[in-house]
């Protein structure tokens, strides 16, 4: 009897914790459905939502451009990172070669360096290239894609190595008996079998690229600025338009939210790869 009561209580507590965790997000949505004036006066009327903030935010700052830049840069970078990482992850999962341990350590090591240490030289390198060569990396999509690809490749390697290790070797061996080359077996047999892993890795890299602020703040000026910069400009110049700012927050969260929930099962598997192997 007592145990049942405790169980009910813990169930209720779980739902309460969920509500508390979700409440800031609910508040973000609720605030975006008010007007700027209501929010600045603190006179909310949650029962009468309005979409004016969502239609006005696009004029206040050039949010369309930021959104488009974010989509282009993050998609391209996440694709490249996933492609490179699936090659490197496959090599680490299947072959024993000199330097494999060094590479694994180096992959972790990249995470140990603060962005500010290699941001300065990258920044100066981009400026130098702009001044002295026709190579345009400063404030271009290409430059940001290059940087983000490098950023998210290390983590992606860990993801892909885990997914490849879960695929039985017999698959490739059978394909090679049938006359496939080693690379052919990798591309035609292993990669399709690792498709969920590829998707999870892509989404993971995309999520982090979407969130990146430090490098895009330093390495862009007007052409290749992404959403975080748009939000910063919003705060800097139109802080009083709070409802629009909240609407912009909703718009910048939606793409990653959809990508995450669509691939959630595989993504969680990749993230918790280390936890379950024990």
């Amino acid at each position: 009897m007592n145990a049942r009561l405790v169980n009910r209580g813990l169930d209720a507590l779980t739902w309460l914790v969920l509500l508390v965790m979700l409440s800031p997000i609910l508040w973000l949505v609720a605030a975006s459905l008010q007007t700027d004036g209501q929010l600045s006066r603190g006179a909310y009327n949650l029962l009468e939502p309005t979409f004016t903030a969502f239609s006005r935010m696009w004029q206040t700052v050039d949010f369309e451009r930021y959104l488009l830049n974010s989509l282009i840069i993050c998609t391209a970078a996440a694709l490249c990172a996933t492609a490179f990482a699936s090659c490197a992850g496959y090599a680490l999962a299947r072959f024993k070669f000199r330097g494999a341990t060094g590479l694994s350590l180096g992959v972790v090591g990249t995470q140990l360096i603060p962005g500010s240490l290699f941001l300065l030289p990258v920044f100066m390198g981009f400026v130098w290239l702009k001044q002295n060569t026709p190579v345009a990396l400063f404030d271009t999509h290409l430059g940001m894609i290059l940087v983000y690809t490098a950023f998210f490749t290390p983590v992606a390697i860990y993801f892909m190595r885990y997914f490849f290790a879960a695929i039985p070797r017999d698959l490739e061996e059978a394909a090679m008996v049938d006359g496939c080359t080693r690379f052919g077996a990798f591309v035609k047999i292993v990669l399709p079998a690792a498709a969920p892993g590829l998707v999870a890795t892509f989404v993971y890299a995309f999520l982090f690229a979407w969130d990146e602020l430090l490098f895009v703040a330093a390495l862009t000026q007007e052409n290749a600025e992404t959403i975080p910069i748009g939000i910063r400009n919003f705060i800097g110049n139109y802080q009083e338009r709070t409802a629009q700012l909240m609407a912009a927050g909703v718009v910048s969260t939606l793409p990653v939210l959809i990508a995450f929930f669509a691939t959630q099962r595989w993504l969680v598997k990749g993230i918790t790869a280390g936890a379950v192997k024990g």
């Binding site: 813990l10 779980t14 914790v17 965790m21 979700l22 800031p24 929010l39 490197a88 090599a91 299947r94 072959f95 070669f97 494999a100 180096g106 992959v107 972790v108 995470q111 140990l112 360096i113 603060p114 962005g115 500010s116 240490l117 290699f118 300065l120 030289p121 100066m124 130098w128 690809t149 490098a150 950023f151 998210f152 983590v155 860990y158 190595r161 885990y162 070797r169 008996v177 080693r182 969130d211 430090l214 703040a217 959403i227 975080p228 939000i231 910063r232 705060i235 709070t242 927050g249 910048s252 969260t253 990653v256 995450f260 929930f261 959630q264 918790t272 280390g274 936890a275 379950v276 192997k277």
Partner: protein, 328 residues
């Protein structure tokens, strides 16, 4: 800045050689070349964007790089150890006190953020590990805060923390009367909490799924046996769950500390490029001095010191958890 989930590979055994035609040295070398070809693109990018610029950053920390010399880029004059001396020992230098203030704030921020994230993540994982109706839905929805981008977290909480119209003060003062005066959150002493709490809120789901996976992988027999022997839930947690989770806690601790120490977006967006003496973190200080004040030499030197501090942390961590990592 993605760094929270690096694990050792699930399969550390050496690759079994293929049954056909394998074994001879020549064949083996060809296999190695194939492996090198596969890692080449990733390696090239990491060398180009991580390794060379990091070396460049170390070099720059020994240069006098400021507004006047910036046009010369990498040819800026050498400064020897001047940047480091200014930061560490020159008490007349305003950067000196700014640096140590930021070190202290970063330590406080990291301590509370990591502690809150791991403790909260474990607590919620324990809650979600119980069978209940709607379990899958709750587990999925609980992840939502982690998906909200940091910069959105920062603008959202900045609005929620507003003293007059923010929802937090409305709840604390107007609705529940827990407090009689409206606290000011975004200035002064409270501003540290204004960045710590949203950071915990966003990081917690990540720690949670990690611990939840560990809890689910645990053999239930241990708990059953201990329960039969008369151990209550608290004792079972203390003597079974916690020791089994130690390797997971170790990995989480390592990367959470690094991630929190390098936090930039939340304080920068919420409190501005200068969050004030109570909440200025290492990253906001370095970025402000480098890019607003053009003190690039200072920024590089401070970054090098920060890297060294992290290396010390990794060494300490490794000594503390060496045994747990070997078990696997």
């Amino acid at each position: 800045m993605a760094q929270t989930t690096l694990q050792p590979p699930p399969e550390a055994r050496p690759a079994r050689s293929l049954p056909l035609r394998a074994g001879r040295p020549r064949r083996r070398r060809r296999r190695n070349w194939f492996a090198y070809g596969l890692i080449a693109p990733a390696l090239a990018f990491m060398v180009l964007v991580h390794l060379i610029p990091t070396a460049g950053g170390v070099v720059l920390s020994f240069k006098r790089l400021n507004t006047f010399t910036f046009a010369r880029l990498f040819d800026a004059p050498w400064a020897g150890l001047e940047n480091y001396r200014g930061i560490l020992f020159d008490t007349a230098n305003p950067l000196h006190s700014g640096f140590f203030g930021a070190v202290q704030n970063t330590a406080v921020y990291t301590f509370w953020t990591v502690g809150g994230t791991l403790a909260g993540g474990l607590a919620i994982a324990l809650l979600l590990n119980r069978p209940m109706r709607g379990q899958r839905l709750v587990r999925t929805l609980m992840l939502a805060p982690w998906i909200v981008p940091s910069f959105v977290v920062a603008v959202l909480w900045q609005f929620m923390w507003q003293s007059d119209v923010g929802i937090i003060n409305k709840v604390l003062v107007d609705y529940t009367h827990l407090l009689s005066e409206r606290p000011i959150w975004l200035l002064g002493e409270n501003s540290m909490w204004a960045i710590v709490i949203p950071s915990i809120w966003r990081g917690l789901p990540f720690a949670m799924i990690f611990f939840l996976a560990g809890l689910q992988a645990m053999p239930p027999e241990l708990h059953e046996a201990a329960a039969i022997d008369g151990a209550g839930p608290l004792r079972r947690f203390r003597y079974i769950t916690l020791p089994l989770l130690r390797p997971l806690i170790a990995v989480q601790l390592l990367f959470c500390v690094i991630y929190a120490t390098y936090q930039f977006a939340i304080p920068y967006i919420m409190l501005g490029s200068n969050p004030g003496p109570d909440a200025d973190l290492m990253m906001t200080l370095i970025v402000r001095q480098s890019f607003s004040n053009n003190l690039f030499g200072f920024g590089a030197a401070a970054s090098v010191l920060l890297t060294l501090a992290m290396c010390v942390w990794v060494a300490v961590w490794y000594r503390a958890f060496k045994r747990d990592l070997e078990v696997k």
